[in-house]
């Protein structure tokens, strides 16, 4: 039976009586459950909370012993410092954040533009050595970046790509394309090829059939894949710190890391820039969360 990608998302589970009864089964057990989950939640959320607090504390409150969890003076100076240089004008950090937006955004767009048609092709056509090709594509992701960063550094040096945004965009795209191809191949597999067959008999060309009939059904999958690619590029640190050095090119991760070190560390600024850096991804993931869930659970539902 044909189902669309939207329909493939399971409805939120309805709490049935049986399950509720089992949950209630022992009040003692429920208490233990809640207690353990609370411990986990506190352990996970404390660093985030501490980061948020530090970013809005006055300088002396940050260093206060014992630490002031409550009742400190709230200030937004650190956030101002993230964006505005001490002497006025744009700060180095704001430039770095902008660079991150450009590099992560471009590499995600490029990876999607290349990976979606490739994933479609791998799904729809029988190719010579298809499995080997796919394995090779995936194998480029086997090694951690640290392992290949030196050869890439040398290649980039002879190509003049060191310390350029283009260089970062290219390397992030290269890392995201295999991921995109694999994800998209899975999503395209889920869309019956008969829609395209029917469209071709209707009188459309193969590409029109893909564009008009399959692509709209892939939007949730593309959104999910692009978010993952974006998060990877946004967070990437190793290539960024090896391949770029100047303030004008540097992305946010190495720039924020650069705040630590030196004789004094402005922890308020570090915390504020970390918050600013984390926020876009959180907001973006929240906006597309419906598609993300669709993307992650899609493979679980068989036609």
């Amino acid at each position: 039976m044909a189902i669309s990608v939207d329909e493939a998302v399971p409805a939120p589970p309805v709490p049935d009586d049986a399950r509720r009864a089992r949950r209630r089964g022992g009040t003692g057990r429920a208490v233990v459950e809640v207690a353990l989950l609370t411990v986990v939640a506190v352990a996970m959320l404390f660093p985030v909370l501490w980061m948020l607090e530090t970013s809005i504390k006055e300088g002396q409150d940050i260093y206060a012993v014992p630490a002031k969890l409550f009742g400190f003076d709230v200030t937004l100076d650190h956030y101002k410092d993230v964006f505005v240089a001490p002497g006025g004008g744009r700060s180095d950090l704001s430039v770095a954040l902008l660079n991150s937006v450009v590099v992560a955004g471009s590499s995600t767009v490029l990876a999607t533009l290349l990976g979606v048609p490739a994933g479609w092709a791998y799904s729809r056509f029988t190719l010579k050595g298809e499995k080997d090709q796919l394995f090779f594509i995936l194998s480029t992701r086997f090694m951690p970046p640290v392992v290949v960063v030196i050869p890439i550094f040398l290649m980039y040096r002879s190509l003049g790509l060191i310390d350029t945004q283009l260089g970062l965009i290219l390397i992030y795209t290269a890392f995201n394309v295999p991921f995109t191809i694999w994800m998209m191949k899975g999503f395209v597999d889920e869309v019956p090829s008969e829609y395209e067959d029917a469209a071709m008999l209707d009188g459309y060309t193969r590409l029109q059939a893909f564009w008009r009939f399959t692509l709209p059904l892939l939007v949730p999958g593309i959104a999910a894949t692009a978010v993952f690619a974006l998060i990877f590029s946004w967070n990437e640190f190793v290539y960024a710190i090896f391949l770029t050095s100047s303030q004008e090119v540097r992305t946010a991760p190495p720039a924020i890391a650069g705040l630590i070190g030196g004789s004094t560390v402005d922890w308020g600024l570090v915390a504020a820039s970390a918050v600013v850096f984390a926020l876009p991804v959180l907001v973006f993931a929240y906006m597309v969360r419906k598609h993300l869930v669709a993307g992650v659970t899609l493979g679980a539902v068989r036609r």
Partner: protein, 358 residues
């Protein structure tokens, strides 16, 4: 309008040989059915004709013109898929309009075309719905409508009734025959249901393991099966097959029985043969001399008739009898045989013996 000729189609999927030289000639305006069990290559044949499958060898001619290398769009065919393949995001109206839109038909013609075909299939009230809101039978009609909205060279139908329940299937059979009569046009229809084939077809091609076994009218395929396999596949209840050989003017069964040898059997004495007897050509009532001794194995009352399973030695005969027939398992009886309607096959090749003079 349209003739479809497929010549020597060959196609393998990896190690699996799906088509092994399929040749079909579909005359203009025919209701041509390709009949075969699942895995016989029926769908592959249809997809090859539609241009959806690249062939290893063979050619497809449409209206006498070589279309082997043409894109599906250029072949000017319409197809109904077994899964219907209705576009899930589009309304029924847009689904039906799709073939017209793809060929940039003027807007007023699209409206008129969709209305006409919606009326023909009684789906006017569904036009604004989406496929997910349709029942199986309704989806089926929409899929048909999408094919019928244009006047292509030929309509290809891939087991369109398989996913329907029995009642709807019977209804749609009549409906399809009516549509074919009303609209005219060439229908190439694939099915594994012999009742569909026998009831709707002008011509049937029986397909097995990627090769055509026999082409003929429903009567020819049923009355004069080209080989033992076709005889066994077409007809319900299944034809009863008995091992035997000829001896002078008699047929002698492996189970010890003898029957007068049908005049037209040409096999030399002693060569292993298979006698094929359909249930309706056998009778538990006394008629003529030709009879087989056996014992009742079981009764299968079907309302309008009763099938009697008769054991002849180790072999089983299915005999069609009046619904009033009685008998107990183990009871001995003799089964009259209408030898003029019997089929004799060569046991080694499975081919029907020539029936000259019949």
């Amino acid at each position: 309008m349209g003739t479809v000729t497929a010549h020597g189609l060959r196609k393998s999927f990896g190690e699996v040989r799906a088509l092994d030289g399929v040749t079909l000639e579909v005359p203009d305006g025919a209701f041509f059915v390709v009949l075969g069990p699942s895995g016989a290559g029926k769908t592959t044949t249809l997809r090859a004709i539609a241009g959806l499958e690249r062939l290893d060898a063979g050619s497809v001619h449409l209206d006498g013109r070589d279309a082997t290398g043409d894109t599906p769009a250029a072949r000017d065919l319409a197809m109904v898929f077994q899964s219907y393949a209705l576009y899930p995001r589009k309304t029924v109206y847009e689904n039906i309009a799709s073939p017209l839109r793809a060929r940039s038909t003027p807007a007023d013609e699209i409206g008129a075309g969709v209305e006409r075909v919606a009326g023909l299939l009684h789906i006017e009230r569904l036009l604004q719905r989406r496929p997910a809101q349709l029942s199986g039978g309704e989806m089926q009609r929409v899929a048909l409508a999408r094919a019928l909205v244009r006047r292509p060279r030929a309509f290809l139908m891939d087991e369109p009734l398989t996913n329907l329940d029995l009642k709807l299937r019977v209804e749609m059979r009549t409906e399809l025959t009516r549509i074919h009569r009303t609209l005219g046009g060439t229908f190439l229809y694939v099915t594994n249901d012999q009742v569909e084939a026998l009831s709707m077809a002008d011509q049937i091609a029986v397909l097995r393991e990627g090769a055509v076994q026999q082409v003929g009218t429903p009567t020819e395929v049923y009355e004069r099966p080209a080989n033992q396999w076709v005889a066994g596949f077409v007809g319900s209840p299944r034809i009863s097959l008995l091992a035997c050989h000829a001896e002078g003017d008699r047929l002698v069964g492996a189970e010890g029985w003898t029957l007068p040898r049908p005049r037209w059997t040409t096999a030399e004495d002693g060569r292993p043969l298979v006698l094929g007897l359909r249930a309706e050509d056998l009778s538990v009532e006394q008629r003529g001399d030709a009879a087989l001794p056996g014992e009742i194995y079981g009764l299968e009352p079907l309302g309008d008739r009763t099938l009697v399973d008769v054991k002849v030695g180790a072999e089983m005969l299915k005999v069609k009898a009046r619904p009033t027939v009685t008998g107990k398992p183990g009871e001995r009886l003799s089964v009259s045989v209408d030898l003029d309607r019997a089929h004799v096959f060569d046991a080694d090749t499975g081919l029907a013996l020539s029936e000259a003079g019949r």
